[in-house]
């Protein structure tokens, strides 16, 4: 019997290590592109200052990159270490994009990043620029393949269950790659990375401008970040991945939970701005609603309904009953029964097998589950609404505030007399917002998929390895301890270099090394 504690601890460990990894990844994705833009400007104009910009922001990129790589190792290993049943059950499908990520993207990014840092004197300008673009391409391609894998967890297309091997197997790799859930996720996540990096460069440049240091350097950085950031934040908002939530049953449940849509409404549905969702009573107290908005955003149409949670639960009940039958047939097949009728019947309802497996949390013997156990499974077949409702709103709020910041910063960077201190301070103090948005966004996407690790296919509860509680308590404490120490060291080093600014390049052209007017 799988213990609840082991599953919960494994989930905590995955959440902690992913959220931590995701502190560094968006910055790597975005900053690599910004570095490539800066260096392109250097190669095209031949002005040294753009080279200095590439090298200085590159130093900060390096400090961040080291922890991104460090924490990424954990992610690659954790599936096998802590989620071994998941690895067995879907490795045939899920492993492929991860391996392709390694061969196509991670190898390239990691091999060339050394050249980016140490190749300045060994390569021609054009060669070095190519390398910088390849590092950027590598980190972005890396995101693509990871999100193809993650998109499949949300909307598992192009695969089906094979009773002989007791796992999911690929049927169409094309469907896996062109999974709409994955495509939308990729655009949304990468754009969020660009926004994060832009906010980083914008905020730090604003800090130098407020201090009156290195005007030429910081203004140019500010301008690039403002322009790139504005385009990025607009993409994040317009291509928000909520539009992908119409594909796949679990995505629909996620959308309904995010919006606390308890019952299907007459389309287009109203958008609840704030309120207090109450899952037991299935109502949202003190809700403030705007008519039509949700329907239009969620479905991009005026007459497609957004399915409410009540209807989703009813549908899930039917599928759980069907899943019990599918599990019963699977047991016969696993015992060697190859009766044509059994196979045909199983193939017809095997899409509901996952729903049958939801019962494993409440009983070992899925086929004789009691009504009470079935009701428990139904009740927990949708995620908890309140945490999703709130984190989603935090994410959206961060996105919109960032939009305002980038609009103002863009105006300030284009019109010289608009460059006011309050704008610089705003840019500096709102710097953490994209990070908050990225972390809450991760939470919405993954917590909203519960109780599944693979939507409609494999419950999270079954996915964990057969470890003991103490195994995971030890490993989780180890991760938390080491990661905390690393974060302190990284922040310390980052602050140190940010304070030094471009003078850390020791070119004798910047503040701390020369008289400002000299």
């Amino acid at each position: 019997m799988i213990s609840d504690a082991v599953v919960e601890l494994s989930r905590w460990q995955f959440a902690v290590t992913s959220l931590y990894h995701f502190l560094f990844v968006p910055l790597t994705i975005g900053l690599s592109v910004l570095l490539a833009i800066m260096e392109s400007t250097y190669v095209m104009t031949g002005r040294e200052i753009y080279k200095d910009m590439t090298q200085f922001w590159g130093k900060l990129f390096g400090i961040n990159f080291a922890l991104g790589v460090t924490t990424g190792l954990t992610m690659e290993f954790q599936f096998g270490m802590n989620w071994s049943y998941f690895s067995h059950y879907v490795g045939d499908v899920f492993g492929a994009p991860l391996a392709i990520e390694g061969l196509m993207a991670f190898f390239m990014e990691s091999t060339f990043v050394g050249l980016f840092f140490f190749g300045w004197d060994k390569l021609s300008k054009a060669q070095h620029l190519t390398i910088t673009w390849l590092v950027a391409l590598g980190s972005n391609l890396s995101a693509l393949w990871i999100l193809v894998a993650n998109g499949w967890m949300q909307n598992p297309v192009g695969a089906e269950f094979n009773y002989e091997t007791m796992r999911m197997e690929v049927t169409s790799f094309g469907a896996l790659i062109f999974n709409p859930a994955a495509q939308v996720k990729f655009v949304h996540t990468v754009a969020a990375g660009y926004t994060t990096a832009s906010a980083f460069v914008l905020g730090i440049s604003a800090y130098y401008m407020l201090k009156g240091r290195d005007a030429a350097f910081s203004q140019r950085s500010f301008t690039i970040a403002a322009g790139f950031g504005l385009a990025a934040v607009l993409s994040v908002i317009v291509l928000g991945d909520e539009s992908g939530y119409t594909d796949g049953e679990v995505q629909k449940a996620k959308l309904a939970a995010i919006e606390a849509e308890w019952h299907t409404e007459e389309p287009p549905a109203a958008f609840t701005v704030v309120g207090f969702p109450d899952q037991e009573a299935m109502v949202t107290h003190d809700a403030i609603k705007i008519p039509w908005v949700l329907g239009l955003i969620g479905t991009r149409s005026a007459d497609t309904p957004i399915i409410g949670l009540t209807e989703i639960l009813q549908n899930n009940r039917i599928r759980i009953h069907s899943g019990m039958k599918a599990y019963g047939l699977l047991q016969q097949l696993r015992e060697g029964n190859r009766d044509e009728a059994v196979i045909t019947e199983f193939e017809a309802i095997k899409k509901d097998l996952g729903y049958g497996l939801l019962l494993k949390r409440y009983t070992e013997k899925v086929v004789d589950a009691t009504e009470e156990q079935i009701e428990m499974a139904v009740k927990n077949s949708i995620p908890q609404v309140a945490p999703l409702f709130w984190t989603f709103r935090v994410m959206v709020a961060c996105g919109f505030i960032s939009l305002i910041v980038f609009v103002v910063a863009f105006i300030a960077s284009s019109v010289r007399k608009c460059r006011k201190d309050w704008i610089l301070k705003l840019s500096l103090y709102t710097m953490p917002l994209p990070w908050i948005a990225c972390e809450t966004g991760w939470f919405v996407a993954e917590f909203g998929r519960q109780p599944w690790s693979i939507a409609e296919v494999l419950p999270t509860f079954l996915s964990a390895s057969s470890l003991t509680e103490w195994d995971i308590i030890l490993s989780l404490s180890g991760y938390i301890f080491l990661y905390s120490v690393f974060l302190v060291i990284e922040m310390f080093l980052m602050m140190k270099y940010i304070k030094q600014g471009p003078s850390s390049l020791h070119t004798r052209r910047y503040h701390f090394e020369v008289d400002e007017r000299g």
């Binding site: 096998g80 045939d92 070992e364």
Partner: protein, 380 residues
């Protein structure tokens, strides 16, 4: 496009996995060795920076071979990935924690002039080299002995071992082999990349550790005669769907030598390890580290390959439920996935080899104390 049958694809993927392991042992191997040697061969801060920068621009790419071995295992041998990673939980955790120290150590160490800061990162880099180098072999040793796992209902993997169980004498010997082998390899590499004092120290280390590696390897070869090996006794269906509980397996001492009995030509693999090891020693002595490095690569490859050849077709034998052992014939991905990943690998692996060699070419030549002094703000 499908040009191979399931059986062939499985063998190809066994070979690809071997290539990735060997790729890691060769490239990541000398990096780990250099990490272990850092505090011993570098007496001053500048010398240590020479050592760090001898691998500085390339270690990051080299480490991907390690990550990639895990990724390929996941994609092509999901059951083997699931069993090995969850069973060797603490061994891998320890390796991960040690590996964490490497990106940080390389990147952060020389970013501050503080002596204590640098000394601590040097220790971290030593641990980051030592632990993975040792655990790599310990893991292989445990694979040879078999891992205590079996399958419950619905193919759930249950593991009955402990961390202390992993540290049995044979596996520790295997750990020492990999540790000593990586130190040898790292020392030869340092002999290429450095001059003067470090070069002389590296030379001495390379000779000693090559000989030690060969002695330990011979000892393990002798031990294998008495060690329990595994053998499939029922009929094999190499084109059947992957189901690791549909066969019979026996376990008895010396069975790991079976393959050599059937195919005596295979003895060339461990033989190569000894011959190229001795050539490495000779060439190091003659101050020809470039050629010596080629032979230390061959030695490393032959040692890893020996483990693979002895175990084939086993991937992970189970010591408590021998019939549940994972083999090449019953633990792979579906034919569709193996085929797809075959093409991806055939396209990208050569590309990786081309650009990696190019990067090594760009950074060819010695790293000297003068180089460090001149670039003290930009190099590691």
């Amino acid at each position: 496009m499908m040009i191979f049958d399931y059986e062939t694809l499985r063998i190809i993927w066994w070979a690809f996995l071997g290539i990735l392991f060997i790729g890691f042992a060769i490239t990541g191997g000398f990096d780990l060795g250099v990490g272990v040697l850092l505090p011993f061969l570098g007496k001053t801060d500048e010398e240590r920076r020479v050592i760090l920068n001898s691998v500085g621009p390339t270690w990051e790419g080299n480490q991907v071979w390690f990550v990639m071995s895990g990724g390929a295992l996941f994609a092509a041998w999901p059951m083997a990935y699931a069993v090995s990673f969850s069973s060797l939980y603490f061994a891998l955790l320890l390796t991960l924690f040690a590996l964490f120290l490497r990106p940080l150590g390389f990147d952060y160490r020389s970013k501050l002039p503080n002596k204590k800061w640098r000394a601590n990162w040097d220790k971290a880099l030593f641990v980051g080299g030592f632990v993975p180098a040792l655990v790599f072999g310990v893991a292989f040793g445990n694979l040879l002995k078999g891992i205590p796992f079996h399958f419950e209902t619905d193919m759930r993997i249950v593991y009955f071992g402990s961390l202390l169980g992993l540290l049995n004498p044979f596996s520790l010997l295997a750990g020492l082999i990999s540790l000593s082998m990586f130190i040898m390899h790292g020392a030869v590499y340092l002999q290429i990349k450095t001059v003067a004092d470090i070069n002389r120290r590296a030379k001495k280390t390379a000779i000693n550790f090559t000989l030690l590696t060969l002695v330990l390897f011979a000892l393990a070869g002798y031990w294998i005669i008495y060690l329990d090996g595994y053998h499939i006794t029922s009929e094999i269906f190499p084109n059947a769907p992957s189901n690791p509980i549909a066969k019979f397996v026996k376990r008895a001492p010396g069975l790991w030598l079976d393959n050599y009995g059937h195919l005596p030509g295979l003895l060339a693999v461990p033989g190569t390890a000894f011959i190229s090891g001795l050539l490495t020693v000779t060439l190091v002595r003659l101050n020809k580290p470039g050629s010596a490095f080629i032979f230390s690569c061959i030695t490393v490859a032959a040692i890893v390959l020996t483990a693979g050849c002895s175990m084939f077709p086993f991937l992970i034998p189970s010591s408590i439920s021998v019939n549940s052992s994972l083999t090449v014939w019953d633990a792979s991905s579906s034919i569709t996935t193996l085929n797809l990943m075959f093409w991806v690998t055939v396209i990208f692996l050569p590309l990786i080899l081309i650009y990696t060699s190019w990067v090594f070419r760009v950074f060819r030549g010695k790293v000297t104390v003068e180089h460090i002094r001149k670039n003290k703000h930009t190099v590691y």
